[in-house]
């Protein structure tokens, strides 16, 4: 059964040895040259499970991987019961939202501390389980890095997701994320990153165009 059609992949809900699993299929993209398409799909199929595995090691919940088929660019993983944070954020009280966002920030902080960059931090890629756990999914664009730049971009994406999708509480939401982040990584890094994010936001604007 088709669970979701993402931009990159189609996700199917299936039974696999008596378990409910998600089969993430990276189908070929007709717009890309086959050669480029294959290399992107297989690269991501190999890397996503590695990052998910490391994420667990870092204490950040992510789906358990059962099977990886690089040839077909398929990944079979645990099905996570629950709601996308995107769907439920507006149903919370201000305090509840602050707590959840701060918790998300702690998880991001843990990922970064362990050298993991998620690569697509949006509230659709975080699932709130009935037990109140947050599970991170979609590591397809992730990488291993401890550089300030990579961490800054990761958090910038989170901030952007709030601004584009949760504009009403973008400010409080992202501030709470940074609070939680700061709690696990320390004030100094969090402050450096806030500066970095500002710098990233300034780039790509007209100003940075070659004016030579």
């Amino acid at each position: 059964m088709l669970l979701k059609k993402g931009a990159e992949a189609s996700l199917f809900l299936e039974q696999w040895h008596g378990r409910k699993v998600v089969m993430k299929k990276r189908l070929p993209k007709k717009y890309r040259l086959p050669q480029l398409d294959e290399s992107i799909r297989s690269y991501r199929t190999v890397h996503e499970p590695q990052l998910m595995h490391q994420s667990k090691e870092a204490g950040v919940p992510s789906p358990t991987i059962f099977l990886v088929d690089v040839e077909e660019a398929n990944i079979v993983m645990e099905f996570i019961e629950g709601d996308q944070v995107k769907q439920i954020l507006h149903t919370l009280t201000t305090e509840g939202r602050r707590k959840l966002c701060s918790y998300i920030g702690m998880l991001i902080g843990n990922l970064h501390k362990h050298g993991i960059i998620h690569g697509d931090l949006t509230t659709s890629n975080m699932i709130l389980t009935p037990h109140g756990k947050i599970v991170f999914v979609d590591f397809g664009l992730g990488e291993f890095s401890t550089e300030l730049e990579a961490r800054g971009v990761d958090l910038h994406l989170m901030k952007r997701a709030f601004q584009s999708t949760h504009y009403k509480y973008a400010k409080e939401g992202f501030e709470a994320v940074m609070e939680g982040y700061s709690d696990v990584t320390g004030k100094k890094l969090a402050e450096d990153l806030l500066k970095k994010i500002r710098e990233i936001e300034e780039r790509g604007r007209y100003v940075s165009r070659e004016e030579g």
Binding site: A7, E8, Y31, Q163, T165, I200, R203, Y206, R209
Partner: protein, 339 residues
């Protein structure tokens, strides 16, 4: 010709290397558009030199636009100008001309956002109602869509703009603009004859993009005589356009909009159009591309934005008409969009 019942807006665009004047009726009919482009020796833009060029051509471009539209200066009922974002000296030249004209004619002055203008002219020209917009030009790379009162930015470049990336590569490859043919169009033509694909860095972060690593790698390959220029142009285009298409598709999947609008100077590229058309079809969305004359920077879009802003009471008093170099797309209210 009797046009006395109509109301005209004159728009001045001067964010970068183009100085352009457009005249549009309140019904959205574009009557004239005249552009003068500053060309530098090096290919890059020197803001002050560009501004000097603009100052030199203001009178000529204005006269030519009025002549083409068959109207007199006194027929102009609104003056609009691009207030930002852009290069300071260039913006100021346009703003000064607009202020002078508006106060001389004693008509309202409208300072409008250049980025919103690109989207609005796209909607007007293609009939798109509520699209995911990919705006790609010499200075911008933005994926945006409307939500509650504003155009929200879903993705943008983390370093250089896509048009700039192509232009720099082209210059490094020794291409020089010819009459009416930008270097990027030469890259497109060369690419169409490319066969070998050389992999280049592919950097997508969520819905954001980075081109500088790819540009460096591509430029280095130029120095290796091993590859034909056709193949390198082909590889460059395939790489950067695949990245653009990927993030546009991601925005489309997230927003579930039913239209894709391609705008900005790079929209002229046929290969990019083809790629976006494919993802639009896959998501059952209509693909819209802005006609060439409205894709590049133009006064028409500024005039049209001026009309929309005027109709929604967004006036700009002359003393508040200072230019805004870094004015963001998502800082602008767009009350004409419903919901």
């Amino acid at each position: 010709m009797h046009r006395s019942a109509m109301t005209y807006c004159l728009g001045i665009e001067s964010t970068a290397d183009d100085f352009s004047v457009g005249i549009v009726t309140f019904e959205g009919e574009a009557l004239a558009n005249v552009t003068s482009t500053y060309m530098s020796e090096s290919g890059g833009i020197h803001p002050r030199e560009a501004a000097q060029h603009h100052t030199r051509v203001v009178g000529k471009v204005l006269r030519e636009a009025l002549r083409k539209a068959h109207i007199e200066p006194k027929d102009v009922e609104i003056v609009a100008f691009s207030q930002g974002p852009g290069m300071g000296p260039c913006l100021r030249t346009g703003a000064t001309a607009a202020r002078a004209l508006a106060s001389y004619l004693d008509v309202p002055l409208m300072g409008v956002n250049h980025l919103v203008a690109h989207i609005e002219i796209g909607r007007l020209a293609t009939g798109a109602e509520d699209p995911v917009t990919l705006f790609v030009s010499g200075g911008n790379t933005i994926v945006a869509a409307f939500d509650v009162g504003r155009y929200r930015i879903f993705g943008e470049t983390l370093d250089i703009a896509i048009g700039n990336c192509i232009d720099v590569f082209a210059r490094e490859a020794g291409l020089r603009p010819e009459e009416g043919l930008p270097v990027a169009a030469m890259v497109e033509e060369l690419a169409s004859r490319g066969v070998v694909f050389v992999p280049l860095p592919y950097t997508v972060k969520g819905m954001d993009l980075s081109f500088s690593g790819l540009l460096t790698a591509a430029t280095e390959l130029l120095r290796k005589t091993k590859y034909r220029l056709e193949d390198l142009c082909h590889s460059l285009q395939e790489g950067i356009f695949s990245m653009l298409t990927e993030v546009t598709e991601r925005a489309l999947a997230h927003t579930e909009k039913k239209e894709v609008l391609l705008t900005g100077g790079v929209a002229a590229n046929k290969r990019l159009q083809t790629m976006l058309e494919i993802i639009a079809k896959e998501h059952e969305a209509r693909f819209c591309v802005v006609p060439k004359q409205f894709a590049m920077d133009n006064g028409t879009m500024i005039a049209w934005m001026g009309i929309l802003a005027y109709q929604h009471g967004l006036k700009v008093p002359i003393e508040k008409s200072f230019v805004r170099l870094k004015w963001r797309l998502d800082e602008v209210d767009v009350p004409w969009m419903k919901r």
